[in-house]
């Protein structure tokens, strides 16, 4: 529980990254979520991704809405500024923060209530604007903090802990992200760290709107038989189309697998996403086919995971707005205020007589 201070003890042998930071430097407060919550696994994966990417923790801004998932930014990156905003409105707050300082890394952490119900509009609009962020939806199909109501991502026919059957159609966040124009779309499972960590790394490095839907079972209210978001169900129906390694530019690029099953996608900044194909015919660069495939597999009762779509040449909101390279929050009077002489000229234009 968070009122317990986290021990400051550090094992001397802890692995260090290129900046000399250990895992511990990327941790936050102790989680107040239930023991075994999928969200905590995602926090651990985020910590690992940031550690492996050699990110300076204070150069990350963590933003969230309201709900169990939205509490998690407190449990990672303790040296980063965090903002637990209002329910469903994190995307707009993150957009504003990003406009103010384009140099930081923006991590949007949300849940299915936040993203697919109350905040579906903001989610879609932040994505369609191409805000440079990694948007993680910790998706458990249920409202945990209010004890077990269905969320909008719950599948038709799935059963609540109290025994109710969901009659409504589910909202598929990855399909929504694809339609809205996200330039990086992935889905993963909180219980599969080997798949999740590289996806998070690639998503953070992506210079556009990256959306990762992470199915994350709710141990307290949605992990029973009849739920389609339980650990057992997800394990049984998880159909990964690929696995990937995220390689930064300086790492040696060496293929050690049979040709045809591995493909390197070089991104704009020189980083490489190495795809280990599981489905030979799946091309994550084809948005239309990706949407088609997702719908087909969904109809067959399967949940597709992996890197679903990638545009290696994304265009972000700042490019669309043609803003200066320097962060707007660093501009001073000289850059912002046109001065008294310009106002004299304007007064002449407005002159009445």
């Amino acid at each position: 529980m968070s009122y317990l201070a986290k021990p400051k003890f550090r094992h001397k042998g802890l692995e260090q990254n290129a900046l000399g930071f250990t895992h511990r430097d990327y941790e936050g407060a102790i989680s107040t979520l239930c023991a075994g919550c999928g969200h905590d696994s995602i926090s651990a994966a985020l910590i690992q991704a940031c550690f492996e990417l050699d990110i300076e923790p204070h150069r990350v801004a963590k933003l969230s809405g309201i709900g169990c998932s939205s509490k998690t930014p407190d449990y990672l990156l303790g040296q980063s500024h965090g903002f637990n905003s209002v329910h469903g409105r994190m995307p707009s707050v993150l957009t504003g923060a990003n406009l103010a300082n384009r140099e930081l890394i923006y991590l949007g952490i949300s849940g299915d209530g936040d993203s697919a119900s109350i905040g579906i509009g903001q989610f879609v609009h932040a994505v369609r604007r191409g805000v440079n962020m990694m948007y993680v939806c910790e998706n458990n199909g249920v409202y945990g903090l209010t004890k077990g109501q269905f969320s909008a991502t719950a599948d038709t026919g799935s059963k609540s802990k109290a025994g109710g059957i969901n009659a409504d159609s589910p909202i598929d966040l990855v399909s929504l992200a694809l339609i809205a124009g996200a330039t990086f779309v992935a889905r993963s499972f909180s219980g599969d760290k080997t798949q999740l960590v590289p996806l998070l790394k690639a998503g953070i490095a992506h210079k556009g709107a990256a959306v990762i839907d992470v199915v994350s079972p709710c141990i307290a209210f949605n992990n029973h038989a009849g739920s389609t978001k339980s650990f057992d169900f997800v394990r049984a129906h998880n159909e990964a189309v690929n696995r990937l390694d995220f390689l930064e530019g300086r790492e040696a690029i060496k293929l050690d697998q049979a040709p045809g099953t591995v493909e390197d996608v070089v991104q704009h900044d020189g980083s490489v996403i190495r795809l280990h194909k599981i489905r030979d015919d799946y091309d994550p660069r084809d948005r239309v086919k990706a949407m088609d495939y997702l719908q087909q597999r969904h109809a067959a009762g399967e949940m597709v995971t992996g890197l679903l779509y990638l545009d290696p040449e994304p265009r972000d909101l700042h490019a669309g707005l043609n803003t200066v390279k320097a962060p707007l929050n660093r501009l001073d009077e000289r850059a912002l205020c046109p001065g008294a002489a310009a106002l004299t000229a304007l007064n002449d234009e407005y002159r009445a007589g």
């Binding site: 150069r59 407190d74 980063s80 500024h81 209002v86 043609n322």
Partner: protein, 612 residues
């Protein structure tokens, strides 16, 4: 038939037109030609929520004395809209004038015996001169401007020079416009000579004053005040704030070397997202604002509570319109005062500024951006449609070159490095304003978690009652600090010692100035105070307590400012009498005069008698 009104440089002309008929630019040409004659005017659009077809009016107050409010009444009605004919004719003051299109004969019952009728066969002239129906419509407007300016003694060269300026770069349009103008002028001198005794005489009373809209002034004020992020959602009557900011930024905020923008404007998906963007940008250290109107303010409520409680700078321009609900979207009111003062659930109080005209809108826009960062809270600038969407004659805008932005208390990396204690909600200076850090400042110090939930002085989550109360009390003390920083009220003492006072604010100011003058002339002495901000500085409460009775004139039904005064100033409700005006049209001097005089008469019959 009473004697026709004779007036020079002091009368009201009202144009009744059909929306979308091209009358707006012709009517503005008429108004500007009077300004060009050196005579002050106040012009107001009264327009429908519609693109084409519904009635629209344009009122021009000509005032050599410089009264810029609505006077009330109409001396000359230019009746160009059959839909509203009856009401338009009825609104003319006895002895006033009706100018109309006499192409089609109208029965005598359509007129009044106590007004002067000036008919001109506009349609007939247009049909004779032009074949294209669109031209017939557009030039009809110019033709009546020609006739009216000739009737009033405004020289052709004055109007021509304005037309020349208007069509700079489109010179091929000059000749046809000149032609139409002269058709009107020639007809007036041949057939209508001497009929109109409303005259404009050349003067030099305009001086170096400027003529601009409040929304434009706000957009420019945000450029000068250093706003770099704007987020908005289109809504009448605020839309032109964002458009103005955009237009001025494109001229004044583009890096000359790279061509890149030193600003970011997001047209959001709704008002919720607009204020969210503003709060995100403010949290991250950029000056940010949104512009909206009542319905948008309603939608933003939850976020206002967050910004208040988490202490994030934000500037909101509320260009008020008629409420509640969709209300009267194209009419003016001052009816969002309580909504903004106590916006959001829980205990909240917000800083409000009340500009009186476009010039003060410019000043307050820049001021609000400073106050938001100084106080780390949302600042509401309460304009309205009357100020926002009409061009007002006002003093030139001014900017002190030595002025520096007040960025408030931001703890820098150097300060953190030097070992200063950082508590995000810690009152270190006794003014209840804590320091904040911006994201990305320091590798190991100064990071904190911003939240709308309760927390302690070091931003650590806490549900403890004492910790919560400690923070809420500090927010109250911060509001006391705000009291010292916001613009002070402006007091006009009566020429003689007055037992009664009158309070007003915002767009009521010019009509009040004229009403006070008229009251004085009738021997009715009242002190007047214009409130410029909430929280109320001590002077506001002292003013109320210094008078036996205070009238408060406001453009809403419920006396919202009165409620706020009574609530915040612990004032006996009996001391303040509400004078509400809320039909959606800007308040008039005649209305204020009549209402105040009547109440003074009730309070002190002798006074009213003495005034006769």
């Amino acid at each position: 038939m009473p004697k026709p009104i004779e007036a020079t440089n002091d009368f009201v002309v009202k144009f009744a037109n059909v929306n979308g008929s091209g009358s707006a630019s012709a009517n503005e040409l008429f108004a500007r030609s009077i300004l060009r004659m050196g005579v002050p005017i106040a012009s107001r659009n009264i327009f429908p929520s519609n693109i084409q077809g519904l009635p629209t009016w344009y009122e021009v107050r000509v005032s050599g004395e410089g009264w810029l409010g609505r006077r009330g009444g109409v001396d000359l009605m230019v009746a160009m809209n059959p839909q509203t004919w009856d009401k338009d004719v009825a609104s003319i003051d006895p002895g006033g004038y009706l100018f109309y299109d006499s192409s089609k004969p109208l029965p005598p019952s359509k007129f009044r015996p106590d007004i002067m009728v000036i008919g001109m066969p506009l349609t007939e002239i247009c049909n004779r001169t032009y074949t294209d129906p669109r031209q017939r419509q557009l030039f009809k407007n110019i033709i009546y401007v020609g006739a009216l300016t000739a009737l009033m003694g405004i020289g052709a060269e004055v109007v021509e020079s304005l037309i020349r300026e208007q069509f700079k770069g489109k010179e091929r349009l000059l000749e046809p416009n000149f032609k139409a103008l002269h058709i009107g002028r020639d007809y007036a001198s041949e057939h209508l000579e001497g009929l109109c005794k409303l005259k404009v005489e050349r003067s030099d009373l305009v001086g170096d004053r400027i003529f601009l809209e409040g929304n434009d002034a706000i957009g420019l004020g945000c450029v000068y005040g250093g706003a770099s992020v704007a987020a908005w959602y289109p809504i009448t009557p605020s839309t032109s704030v964002a458009e103005s900011f955009n237009a001025h930024c494109r001229k004044l905020r583009v890096d000359p070397e790279t061509g890149e923008n030193r600003f970011a404007i997001v047209q959001a998906e709704d008002e919720l997202a607009a204020i969210g963007v503003v709060i995100g940008a403010g949290w991250n250290g950029a000056r940010a604002f949104t512009a909206t109107s009542g319905p948008g303010i309603s939608l933003m409520q939850e976020f206002f509570g967050l910004a208040y409680f988490a202490e994030i700078p934000a500037v909101v321009f509320d260009i008020q319109r008629g409420g509640p609900s969709t209300g009267m979207p194209t009419r003016t009111q001052q009816s969002d005062i309580l909504l903004c003062a106590y916006a959001s659930h829980g205990d909240t109080k917000h800083v409000l500024l009340f500009p009186e005209d476009p010039r003060e809108s410019f000043d307050f826009a820049a001021e609000a951006l400073d106050l938001a960062e100084r106080l780390q809270t949302p600042i509401f600038v309460m304009s309205d449609l009357d100020i926002g969407m009409n061009q007002w004659l006002c003093e030139p805008l001014a900017w002190d070159e030595a002025r520096r932005y007040d960025r408030g208390k931001i703890m820098t990396a150097e300060m953190l490095e030097s070992g200063m204690d950082f508590g995000r909600y810690l009152d270190v200076d006794g003014d209840a304003i804590p320091y904040r850090t911006l994201p990305g400042t320091h590798p190991t110090r100064g990071a904190y978690f911003t939240r709308g939930t309760s927390r302690d002085r070091y931003a650590k989550y806490s549900e403890e009652g004492a910790v919560y109360v400690d923070n809420m009390q500090r927010l109250l003390r911060k509001f006391e600090t705000a009291k010292l920083l916001v613009p002070k009220p402006v007091v006009h003492q009566a020429a003689r010692k007055a037992r009664f006072g009158v309070i007003y604010f915002g767009s009521t100011a010019p009509a009040m100035a004229e009403a006070l003058d008229a009251l004085g002339k009738r021997g009715l002495w009242v002190d007047a105070m214009r409130i410029r901000a909430f929280p109320f500085s001590d002077e506001v409460i002292e003013f109320v307590n210094a008078h036996e009775q205070v009238f408060i004139v406001e453009q809403n039904r419920d006396g919202q400012m009165r409620t706020l005064l009574i609530n915040e100033g612990a004032i006996d409700p009996a001391r303040i009498v509400s004078i509400p005006h809320y039909d959606g049209a800007p308040i008039t001097a005649r209305f204020i005069l009549a209402e105040v005089a009547e109440r003074l008469g009730q309070l002190e019959p002798r006074l009213e008698g003495a005034a006769e």
